[in-house]
Structures are given as C-alpha cells and as structure tokens.
Chain length 306, copies 2
C-alpha cells in the first residue's frame, strides 16, 4: 500500500470524574487525512486545509508523532501528509490528538503494521506533548482504540479498554472562544482536598461499573466533578446555566470536554440527545455567542479507513 485516506475522530477526555485518565471516541466529528509514501526520505506536511497550523514537520503534531514512530523503527521511509481539519484547535475535543493519532495509524498501515494499535499510543502522545506541553493519552488512546478508554498508569503506560453502552449519545457545544490547554491547565491547583478526591474516585468507580452494566442512570449520577469543573467552568460562558438547560431537557450528565471550552451532554438515545441539542442551541443563540454544535454516537472503532 502506497497511500491511505482516513477519518481521524474527535474525542472527549476527562468526562467529569475521570480527569486525565478517561476518554471516549466520537463519530461524525473529525478530520480527514491523506497520507502517502514519498521517496525523499522525509516526513512532510504537504497540505493543511480548514485551519492555519504549522507546516514544519517538527512543529506539527502529526509530524512529530510520525517522526517518533519512524525513529523507533530506524526507518528512513518518507511520507507526505495532508490534513483536512474539521476539528478546531483549542476546542477541547482532541484536535491535536486526531492529527497525531491519525498520522501514526496511517503510517503504521502503510508500513504493513509493525505495531499493534495499542503500541501506537506512545508515538501519538508525542504530538500531545508538542501541543500542550504534556504527553497525555486520554485523547489519543480513544482516537486510536475507539470507545471508552482508561489510562491506568503512565509509568509504565497502561491503557484499559472499556465497553460502550449502545444507546449513549453525546451532544458537544463548542463556544467559539479559544482556550489553550496550557492555560486551562495552569489555573488548576496542585493540591486538592482528600474528601473531594475520595468523592471523585467514588464517582469514577461507579462510572466504570455503569459502562459494564449499561446502567445509564448511574452513569449520569457519576458524571460529577468536584475538583476540576468548579475551577475551569469559570472560563466557559454561562456554564452553569447551560448545564441546567441540558439536565432539564433530559441529559444524563453534563461537563467540560477535555480542558474546554467545549462542553458535553451525555444522553440516552437519539430522541433525548436531539432535544438536549436543540435546547442548548436556543439558549446559546439567545446569549449571542457563536458556537459549533455536534451530536454523536460513541465511535467504537476509532480511526476509519475511507
């Protein structure tokens, strides 16, 4: 295979009680990437549409992720990478993760799969390190693996795949204000109250249980965040009101997507998701703030070949 075209999905990290450890993969929100071998022994970003992003290989998240993979293999094979960005950088739904994960997935395919999908995660994390200063895995793991994923440990890296209850739907609202992951991370406190931490891990444990038992109501009750949300939600216009609107219209839970400013409402079934989406849309339109809005199933496949 000389070339490949893929869909690189957006992802939802943190999920309220799962800060820095939990993420899930979205469908019908994502980038398209076209990657082909070249014969100049270089990784080149040859085209980016949709967004203005660095074209230099080592300043581009896809570029550094592929370089990391090739260095591990001692390979001198070159690749040309084209990216049609549909996920806006700084939105909080894994824009950099989609590009990093998509690039290493495609290159691995073109090299006849020297790595398993799971083994690609550390290479994609190098893109995250470039984007945010922190090589986190809670977006790249679900982008690559699909479904829900838990990062149990970073030293050594261990990612646990979790089941996805089939009726789960996600509504994502992205207020069109830019919020850099670095900035959003810098406002967090380095210490937390033990009692809040206990409440957080009680909720996370229950959320994991709910994924296995398909207990949608328990899942909703578990989407509670006493540590990060109270701090970060201040940066998101009308967060508390929007949460109220989503929950009043039947959402199971509501929280900040990744480091924001996007927010998510988790819903059971298409009908509820559609009315939550409409209510959130109406509320934000009234406030006069520009936004993007998505409704998605959980993508259990991850990256898709087009």
């Amino acid at each position: 295979m000389e070339e490949i075209k893929i869909f690189a999905p957006a992802t939802l990290a943190n999920l309220s009680c799962g800060f820095d450890v939990l993420g899930c993969c979205l469908d019908n929100v994502g980038d398209e990437m076209y990657i082909k071998k070249n014969n100049v022994n270089q990784v080149r970003i040859t085209r980016i549409t949709g967004q203005v992003l660095p074209m230099e290989t080592l300043n581009n998240v896809a570029g550094v992720a592929v370089q990391a993979l090739l260095e591990n293999l001692n390979s001198t094979q070159g690749f040309d990478i084209e990216i049609d960005k549909h996920i806006k950088p700084g939105s909080g739904i894994g824009s950099s993760a989609a590009s990093s994960a998509g690039a290493v997935y495609a290159v691995n395919k073109l090299l006849e799969e020297p790595f398993t999908i799971k083994e690609l995660i550390p290479f994609a994390m190098e893109g995250e390190r470039l984007a945010s200063g922190n090589a986190h895995a809670d977006n790249v793991a679900p982008a690559l693996m699909g479904g829900f994923n838990l990062v149990r440990s970073y030293q050594p890296l261990e990612v646990v795949s979790l089941p996805s209850p089939p009726q789960l739907r996600v509504v994502i609202l992205h207020p069109l204000i830019e919020l850099k992951t670095k900035d959003s991370r810098s406002i967090l406190k380095q210490s937390v109250y033990l009692k809040d931490a206990v409440s957080q891990w009680g909720n996370l444990g229950a959320l994991i249980s709910a994924l296995y038992t398909e207990d949608y109501e328990l899942l909703g009750r578990s989407l509670e965040d006493k540590i990060i949300e109270p701090v970060r939600s201040i940066l998101i216009p009308f967060f508390d009101d929007l949460k109220k609107v989503a929950l009043e219209n039947g959402a199971l839970g509501f929280g900040i997507s990744g480091s924001g400013p996007s927010v998510f409402a988790m819903c059971k079934g298409d009908t509820v998701a559609a009315s939550v989406k409409e209510a959130m849309q109406l509320f934000y339109q009234e406030k006069g703030i520009d936004f993007d809005l998505h409704q998605s199933e959980i993508n259990t496949q991850g990256i898709k070949i087009l």
Copy 2:
C-alpha cells in the same frame, strides 16, 4: 420467627486505591450472633464472649444500629442480642461493622423484613459512627451485601454492587498491636497532590474494570495506593518487607486492610494463597511479633443464617 442465629463476616475496606469507597466481604472470618425478641420493649446486649466490649445498648455498636432501625419504624419491639466475637476490635477487618450489620440484618429478619438489605446500610452505619466517629459504609455495605461494593456517594447514600472474580483469595495478617480507626485517620493529611489523586482514580477505575473482566493481573497492578499507604504503613511493623514477601510469593497485590494494622494479600487461587500465607507467617514469626492469620474466599452472600 422469634430468634435467629447468624454469621456476621469480617470485611476488607479501602483495598489500596479505593480509600473510603471500596470494600469486600470475607468468608470463614467473622462473629456469631444470636438475637431473639424479648417482651420488655428494650434492646439489650445480654452476652458478649471473646472480647470485652460495652454492654450498655447505646455504647454498643450493635445496640445503636438496632435502635436506629427501630426508631425509623417507630417500633417498640425489644430484642436480646448475644455476640460471640471472633473478630478482634481494632484489627482493621471490620469488627464493629460485623456487629452492626449482623444486628440490623437479624432484627430485620425477625420483623419480617420491613427493609431490603440495601436499606439496612444506613442503620448499620450508626454503629460505625459510634466506633470511629465517622459513619462510613465501606465495611457495613459488603458485610450486608456480600462481594465487592463501592460507595459512590454519601449524600445521598449510593452503594454499587460489583462482581467478584471467582478465583480471588485473600490472606489477612493481623499484627497484634491495637490501632484505633480514629487515631489511624487522624494522621492522614487533609490535602493531597492532584497528580497522586489522578493516579489513585486511574487505579481504582482499572480495579473496577478488572472485577468485571476477571483480569487478575490487572487487578493486581491496580492495587496501588500513593496517598494513604505511605502514611499509614509506618504504623504497621515491617510493612514494606511483608509486602515484598507476599509479592515475591505470587500475591497479585498487597495493602493495608481498612485503617490497619491488618494487612491483606490478594491472590489468585488456593495454592498461591496458601504459599503466600505460609511465607507471611514465617516472616512474622522470625520477627517475633504476635499475629493472627486468615485465608478466605470472597464471600458473595454476606451475612449467613446459621
């Protein structure tokens, strides 16, 4: 029914990464209780063997738990409670929880079950409040419900029942030094580092997943505690060495049982458990410290009628 005799099991709370939220129920370690209706409209502790404990109803954990249940029902029925204590108070394997949970279970049976088992938890928690100053549920819930239980929330109380991988075995070593839950709790810091909390909830999430998938190795790797164990283990003689002995002999994981001083080794299968038990026994004998030692399956039933 006028009288009932029950087995009230010991329990293992916290389980390393699940401080204050997780517990499981043990088998063949526990108290026996004999409870009968009386016609003097009073709850009386009529006999306690095996340990010296308060006989006054309102100073006895079983007494206050039963009083709380009866007050909720506005019942004036009296009961005589006899307890054969086989679990030593202050051991860290739920001595007070066994008495509280056993008493409310028995009284509920004698009253023809006005409450479900789950509804008995708050009454049993009143016994815990008396014993430790803190109405925690991570021992009484597994004592009543059997198996593994997660306390998602206290306000309102929500307990989630979890599956028990069938080959799990627990070895418990109780160094015969007394450690009051109150004292063991007072040495904990009220604040923790966010990065340690993240690591803790990553492990707890993975542990819950491992219970569902019966992934014993993952369960073992998840039994890690960066927050409580480093502080509390100082109070337990030769903790680090004993942990090393258990792990070297094949234990999946090792940690402090409840607030200590008992420690537990989680093992896969009877054979491994037996050799871990023997190695721990030899090590502690060499050190010249008195101890009790138990090996148990996970008790998925909870309290048993004898």
